[in-house]
Subunit: 291 residues, 6 copies
């Protein structure tokens, strides 16, 4: 494993400086929504896996929740499946859902699991179908989007049992349909799934890995990062246009987590190598923290 040229004594110093952070998070639960470039770029991916293995190793209970849009699109293209849209929203028919389930639960999920295992960690790859982890109904968005779902219940047992045994549960966001979707597999939003899982677990933190630096006061100016936001300030940030477009669902998702009892929500930049460790193990942190 290559790395920076740092003297052994400095290495030791870095380790002991991490000690109070490790002591602080030991035994606590952190739900990481993994996605974006950090899941595509091989170097970034490798860094995330190392971060997760380290976090788990020093006693943090990590849950890794992931989607997998690009891989799904690639596979849909490969099988020649044309996407159907309703009012501009993609409609998920049964054939598409089959691909979604396969790619998320069988490809992306298990590949992450294999990487954590190879990094010396322990991981179990689950999806919402396993042990009744995620149940959902069809999303109510005014139009019928097919097998797109909204989570109605989270059964944390498979997660806590796995973490008690030292595993990192890796969760693919497919839910088991109930009610109007009885018995169907449903495609659910990964950010929201992370928020609901974090809330159900009473997690210390939920961390959303994104492709932006966090909430920028001036979206053009990377130096204008807002490092801390109070939950009640979110509305005015939206009104002032500072939180806009794609950042709105991210902050909504953070709000869901916080209202569900999660202590802190973080929007961090997955394009920065080891962003997770920098967030957890340094005072400055990275990205925007909402509490």
């Amino acid at each position: 494993m290559k790395g920076p040229i740092i003297a052994n004594k400095d290495r030791a110093a870095v380790l002991v400086q991490a000690l109070p952070y490790i002591q602080n998070f030991m035994g606590k639960t952190i739900v990481v929504k993994y996605g974006g470039n950090a899941m595509i770029n091989e170097d970034l991916k490798s860094a995330v896996i190392q971060d997760v293995a380290l976090m788990s190793c020093v006693g943090i209970r990590v849950v890794l929740v992931h989607g997998g849009g690009p891989e799904i699109d690639a596979m849909l293209k490969k099988v020649g499946k044309e996407s159907k849209f309703v009012n501009g929203l993609r409609y998920t028919d049964e054939e598409t859902m089959e691909i979604v389930q396969m790619v998320l639960s069988g490809k992306v999920n298990k590949d992450i699991v294999a990487l954590v295992q190879r990094a010396g960690g322990k991981a179990l790859g689950l999806c919402g179908l396993d042990g009744g982890l995620l149940k959902g109904e069809k999303a109510k968005k005014g139009v019928d989007l097919g097998l797109v779902g909204e989570i109605t219940s989270v059964n944390i047992d498979p997660l806590t049992e796995a973490m008690d045994k030292g595993y990192v549960p890796v969760v693919a966001t497919v839910a088991l349909g109930v009610g109007d979707a009885e018995g169907e597999a449903l495609n659910v939003n990964a950010d929201t799934a992370a928020a609901k899982i974090a809330a159900a677990l009473g997690a210390e933190k939920m961390v959303l890995m994104t492709d932006v630096s966090g909430i920028l006061r001036d979206v053009q100016n990377p130096d204008s990062l807002i490092k801390e936001v109070k939950r009640h300030e979110l509305d005015s940030l939206v009104k002032d246009g500072i939180v806009s477009k794609g950042m709105i669902p991210k902050t909504e998702c953070c709000r869901t987590a916080l209202e569900g009892g999660v202590k802190k929500a973080h929007i961090i930049d997955g394009r920065v190598p080891h962003a997770l460790l920098v967030e957890l193990f340094t005072d400055e942190g990275i990205g925007t923290m909402i509490e």
Copy 2:
């Protein structure tokens, strides 16, 4: 749930007659290799799932191991992938392996899990990558078959932990490559995987669900079923041509299980509804039992 018209008193009688069988298997481990028609025909599939849920419910520790040849072939066809053959054996290249992993771990596996959950049972869908369950090297068959693997080690922890919590572990037979296949996912034979898992668990029984009645003394005569075979008799059965063709690897697989410490191996007919229950809960049983 429809069913035969049986008076309640007869139902009660059937239940109490099952009692000694239940008492006998309570707490014991049975590894079932699920495949063939029983995995394709919807009625048979439903019956198998009910059998498995019932077995788990009355205290049997069930592990369900499955392959998924037909689904893999269908998906390969869908993406227009031509199979390459070497000396008549299919070569598994990386693109094919990706499909194999996706279909087995993401589609077949999770569909079974969802069915068990819907039947009121508890299931966890794992593949060999999860928690280091199955490790393997490239198969040594004289020719290079690409990412076809042979299992070199089984880590039973993820299975026993799941069973201790009341889950049926459902296992897709993808292994994590080590040695000459370091870090690759490998496609491993499901029958052999079941045998090695059963041996590693010190299982009471391994049951292979097939599309034949068992070992027939005269393959043309369905009434010539051999109900019990001693392990040491297998060689002469092969020499006499009674065990031949596709039955040879089945019996080899049973031998592997038995030599690994499994008490009994069964070759049963998955085309018969509830073959598992009939095998476990009646004196006559079904199929061929090797010990």
Copy 3:
């Protein structure tokens, strides 16, 4: 074990149809008051024991509470003991109580235990003296009835400890006297004991096995069985004369159980073979259910 001639596939069907009922009661506590013909007739007795062994085997926590009037009478007669009556109620003197204790705790109780053990189950025979299970004072009925007692406290520890280890506790209804009966053994009513034990355990169900079909709207008409009664309807059923005579203490006993937190109370016909299983494992059930 003889039984109805039912094809194996139908047997399997019966078993899987029992699955949802088994799943429903798994881990729950059911207190059965055993008595009447079901305790005298050898075939019925054998069927009850099988039912209890099966219930215990599929994970139901069963407590069997029994009296033993006929056996007590027979032994009193054998030793030439004349019963003394006060205001028409039998007076229990010390010599009688000695016989009561011996017959209930030493004969009836241990015979049941032996039968459950022989049926492959696990049973422990206890009476109210064991581990302080039942404590009582002299019954206050306006007249002195000697060593007839009313239960004042139930210590569930010996029951839960036994059930945690997989035993069916079989309880003979002799209580340890406190207060005005300090140190005496007391004869307590078995129906009431079952109700108080069920309440103390927070049982799912209490089942009274009787020699009637349940509550009949017209006591002459066996087809007039009332299958479900709400607790608050009991008073008017008594007022209307539908619940009368011997049924009144039975329903009072059910009321005691329900008011103590038991979910459902059942009055079933012990003369029907396997009445317990039919009640638990079919939709129609048998007898009257009060909730």
Copy 4:
């Protein structure tokens, strides 16, 4: 509770002098065969119960095994049952066995349990039928003695489970028949039962409470007590006539216990109040110790 007039400081001294003995026996198992005068005389009985309660309270795992000859005889007489003899040995027919079981398991056993409970201890009354504790076959003595049995297996689970929860198991010596006595209750010798139970438990000590001082070198001279005997010396003691008559089966029983792994066997005088405590908690002890 009356007692000797002893100053508080002397009481304290007595207690601390008992400390090393308590420390020595803490957590160890002692099987006491209770019988003879100590079970008939009310003062002696009360003293034994106190001793047992105290032993249990200071962390000794006590099992109390008892017969009940006199009570059985009294009841047989009461019901007018004539004893039948074969070659001078009493024949146990079914009716007699019913009385034996009732008196032992229902009267003597539960009375002891009630006394221990009233002394502030915790006791569970079991017989050999409970939880498969004692199994036996018909005694082979050259003649058919009916339902007299010999123990063929001891299942210690009900005993260890009870002791783990702090109970004193009180055991009535009725066994469940197997083999030639399948399903019958059998009358087994209490001394032998104590020895077999002690052996199965790997007990520290077995103590036989008798109506003699121990082994006397001269049976006429109470001062000739032999305090310690080595197991291998027993044969010559018999040959020399020092061990004779009723003492022979007692010493045989001790031999059975010792050969089964019990560390020490004691024959003590149950007519001496608190003989158990004197044996355990003083250096001089009481009676004869065989090792």
Copy 5:
């Protein structure tokens, strides 16, 4: 071990008479403040250690809290350290504190531990620094007394963990400074420490061993001992001058314990051999009990 000449039967009687007291305290927590003559006189010390070992042995959870004034004074004198006084109160400078810590934690504490171990008991010697047991700030008495502390928090974990494993925790009253004494070792009052520890443990009793008989109505008259006091009567006892001088902080300390949830506080005479046992195991007790 010498002792009073008491017949074995009387010894047995004493033991069984202690039974109800033992049963009463089994599993309960008793915090003993050990000090005064009982810690100086070798015979008294030996008696206390025996009492503590016996209490622990019969299932009482004992915590022994001690100071060590005389030993500290002796060592200060030995090193030629002159005590400095502020307003008549001793000032604890760093050098003195070093001696205090050494003598309390290293000499007095470990000597007690060794004595308990030699008496066959199990003891662990802790001070307030171990496992964060006692934290404190500088005492606020109007003047600066240096490293004299007041306890601000008690972490009972090291105590309960030790008692769960059968140890008597022996506690030297040195606290870890926080706030204005960050990182310093602080000298805390042992009586108060015992009270705060007893309160934190929710102890059944706190016992202060002193060099007086208890609260005397007339301090000149040893027969005027007040055996029981209600907490609310303490104020008037002080007002009436019955509780005065050195007894005031003792009763204040008892009040602290009682207000913190301790059931009973005792002031006993450590000059009486086995005062602890007499208090716990006789009806008359010794000293004054406040509740």
Copy 6:
């Protein structure tokens, strides 16, 4: 906490590079003999404490064994105690032993405990008297050295119980005398104590912190460090004069540990800051490793 100026990304890199080492030692036991300059110099002491807190935090079971020569000498001087010598070896009389015990168990030991606690770790300060941890007899060196002892038994229970609860046991090397030193506290050599404790625990490693670099091939040349030595090579190293003087008892002590089952023994340079971490968490390590 100041430290080297290292960019956050490099800090993250250092942390993940430590991951395989952490994974390797997780759950393993490492016994560290702490002494020399690392215990005197405040900066070094602080670094050792951080190292120990970190090791404990990442799941290593650390036992810290220490002596305290300089502090003992200082205190002996303070009290004006002259050392007496026999054949050039210091004689430990009772008064000296009292100082030794006080300083080691009360001062050095508890100061280390306080530092670990303040560093956010959990520590318990024990000496050999606690829980029977170390027992010993008088050292047999040809002359009477008074209360100098040799360890005869190690009771690991207090250590494993503490480590199971997450504490670092800090051990002062005072032993409880048995045999010819019955009841005395004995002064035992700290290196040997570490070796015997490591052996009794079946430790992964024993690390001796010294004031030299390790075994130097040429004692004048600091670049001649021998990094690895096989146990069987020690004799020839002594014969060749490479291991000489003060290094001889160090290597003997390593041999004791290795022969007792410890996997590896290390002699490291305590004068190098964070020598422990460098040894454990880098490939190069530091000092000499003997296996």
